[in-house]
């Protein structure tokens, strides 16, 4: 809005000078010229402020529909309470954030794959998650070492993208949430920078809770064979 005010007054000053028949020379000799200069300066300030306001206004980013198959695969040997907790996590994430895919790997096996997953080559089946490969990859190792959440707001900029083949190819943003030191949750979103800071904090708390729940149940089970 100040742009219009500033621009209009700029033109008005020049117009005023023109119709008053004064020579268009910008020297500060006559008081008229000085007054003109000051007004011009004010007009320019307004224009610049308007530009600053424009940049503050949020730019809307459109979500990108992820390409892949819908799936809901949960490791079958989990007790009911853990499954319902996982389902609650998925329900909350998909309702509140822009998360469209969720994969949880714990103790070297893929526990959960919900949402949209990439298609397997040629078949209409979701791409199976190779937990061992993921855990050896640099993304997982990095997250494990730092113990903190990693947010890749614009996935196309990251070379680590190749380690997540199970996510739809046009996933826009990814959050890697470590679950203690035994697992990782991979959340795929459909908007660049779609996860806000408050989402990130909530996800880290949910990650802690999931880790506590899974640790309790995984430790009480015999070692399982990876299918």
């Amino acid at each position: 809005m100040p742009i219009y005010v500033g621009g209009a007054s700029l033109l008005a000053v020049l117009f005023n000078r023109a119709i008053s028949g004064i020579a268009p020379v910008a020297d500060a000799s006559s008081s008229q010229s000085r007054a003109d200069l000051l007004t011009l300066g004010l007009a320019v300030t307004n224009v610049l402020t308007g530009l600053v306001w424009l940049s503050i206004r949020p730019k809307s980013i459109t979500p990108v529909e992820p390409q892949g198959v819908e799936c809901q695969e949960i490791y079958s040997h989990l007790p009911e309470s853990v499954v319902s907790e996982i389902l609650w996590v998925w329900e909350s994430l998909s309702a509140v954030t822009c998360c469209k895919s969720l994969v949880i790997v714990y103790d070297c096996q893929c526990i959960v794959q919900i949402g949209v997953a990439a298609k397997s080559l040629n078949i209409d089946e979701p791409f199976a998650v190779d937990a061992a490969k993921l855990m050896q990859g640099s993304l997982y190792q990095g997250v494990l070492k730092s113990g903190a959440q990693s947010y890749m707001a614009n996935l196309s900029l990251y070379p680590g993208r190749s380690e997540l083949p199970f996510l739809p190819s046009n996933t826009q943003a990814v959050i890697l949430q470590p679950l203690g030191d035994r697992g990782i949750a991979v959340l795929g979103g459909d908007t660049i920078r779609g996860f806000t800071t408050s989402d990130q904090t909530w996800i880290s708390y949910i990650g802690e809770k999931l880790d506590a729940t899974l640790a309790k149940y995984m430790s009480s089970m015999p070692s399982v064979v990876q299918e």
């Binding site: 100040p2 005010v5 500033g6 007054s9 008005a12 000053v13 005023n16 000078r17 119709i19 008053s20 008081s31 008229q32 000085r34 007054a35 003109d36 000051l38 007004t39 004010l42 300030t45 307004n46 610049l48 402020t49 530009l51 600053v52 306001w53 503050i56 206004r57 949020p58 730019k59 809307s60 980013i61 009911e80 309470s81 319902s84 907790e85 389902l87 609650w88 329900e91 909350s92 309702a95 509140v96 730092s146 903190a148 959440q149 990693s150 947010y151 890749m152 707001a153 614009n154 900029l157 990251y158 920078r193 806000t196 800071t197 408050s198 990130q200 904090t201 909530w202 880290s204 708390y205």
Partner: protein, 291 residues
């Protein structure tokens, strides 16, 4: 002439979260990006800032000072000018003075922009003590769920006091004003009797009071509460199914800030309330298995 330099700022898209964000941390240069998080999506974070390069100077008030400075120079010019003041000069001066006045009010108008100034900080209610009580007859799983829910709500949102009523069991945490006659043992009874009076247990829809209101249940809330959110815990995932017996209980969240809960906060609180609903289903299932 003053030198104006532009500074573009692009936040690194890889954001590492070492510890949960301290609630009220707002560094100066990134102040605009922090405020903008209130809306649904993350903002485009390249911001054009004009700065004189002088540290410690707040540039957002620059138009105001320029307005004052140039306006006074205009008046000076008018007074000290030549004898005959032409009409054209008067026009210019009038225009200049109105522009100066406009510039002076610009920072004030700028506060109303979307993504403008942050709200007041959370203050702790006076005379309140921190308590954490839970009903006795709750199962271990329910205890954990309640403890986690209250913990996460207190840490992650602008809440100072939280009260959860589910299946007749209470969990209260945070800062509350307890009347003098109430000892530690009677706390739960006191709360229970007060809540029955308010009729909040029959609530079906989410109630949000972003500013101090004259609601009936306000007397149990600590002093200094400015906004309140009451979230019912619904049994069915579809809130339009409104038959009796569908309500589990409710969450009562109080904060000492006005407008404490934005859209996203409320969505997350709804999600946490669904967690307790799920817990109940699981307990029933476990009980069925055992019998």
């Amino acid at each position: 002439m003053t030198i104006l330099t532009t500074k573009t700022q692009l936040l690194n898209p890889l954001i590492q979260l070492k510890t949960p964000l301290p609630l009220k941390f707002r560094p100066k240069m990134a102040s605009i990006s922090a405020r903008l998080d209130n809306s649904q999506q993350q903002m485009n974070l390249s911001v054009l800032r004009f700065t004189l390069g002088i540290p410690g100077l707040d540039e957002s008030y620059l138009p105001r000072w320029i307005g004052y400075g140039f306006g006074s120079l205009l008046i000076l010019n008018h007074l000290l000018g030549s004898d005959s003041v032409s009409a054209a000069q008067l026009r210019t001066e009038a225009l200049g003075l109105s522009l100066a006045a406009f510039s002076i009010t610009l920072p004030y108008l700028g506060k109303f922009l979307k993504g403008a100034a942050p709200l007041d900080q959370t203050t702790l209610p006076e005379g309140a003590e921190q308590i954490f009580v839970m009903s006795e007859n709750v199962s271990v799983a329910q205890k954990e769920a309640l403890a986690w829910a209250t913990y996460v709500l207190l840490r992650n949102t602008n809440t100072t006091s939280v009260l959860i009523l589910t299946q007749g069991e209470l969990c209260i945490r945070g800062y509350w004003n307890l009347p003098d006659g109430v000892s530690k043992d009677n706390v739960l009874d006191w709360f229970k009797s007060n809540i029955e009076e308010t009729g909040l247990s029959d609530l079906r829809d989410t109630l949000y009071f972003p500013q101090t209101a004259d609601a009936e249940f306000w007397n149990i809330l600590p002093q200094g509460t400015r906004s309140v959110l009451v979230q019912p815990v619904l049994l069915s995932p579809n809130p339009s199914m409104n038959y009796m017996g569908n309500i589990e209980g409710f969450f009562l969240l109080a904060s000492s800030m006005r407008y404490a809960y934005n859209e996203k906060d409320r969505a997350w609180i709804r999600a946490v309330s669904n967690k307790l609903r799920n817990e109940r289903r699981t307990w029933h299932f476990d009980i069925l298995l055992q019998s």
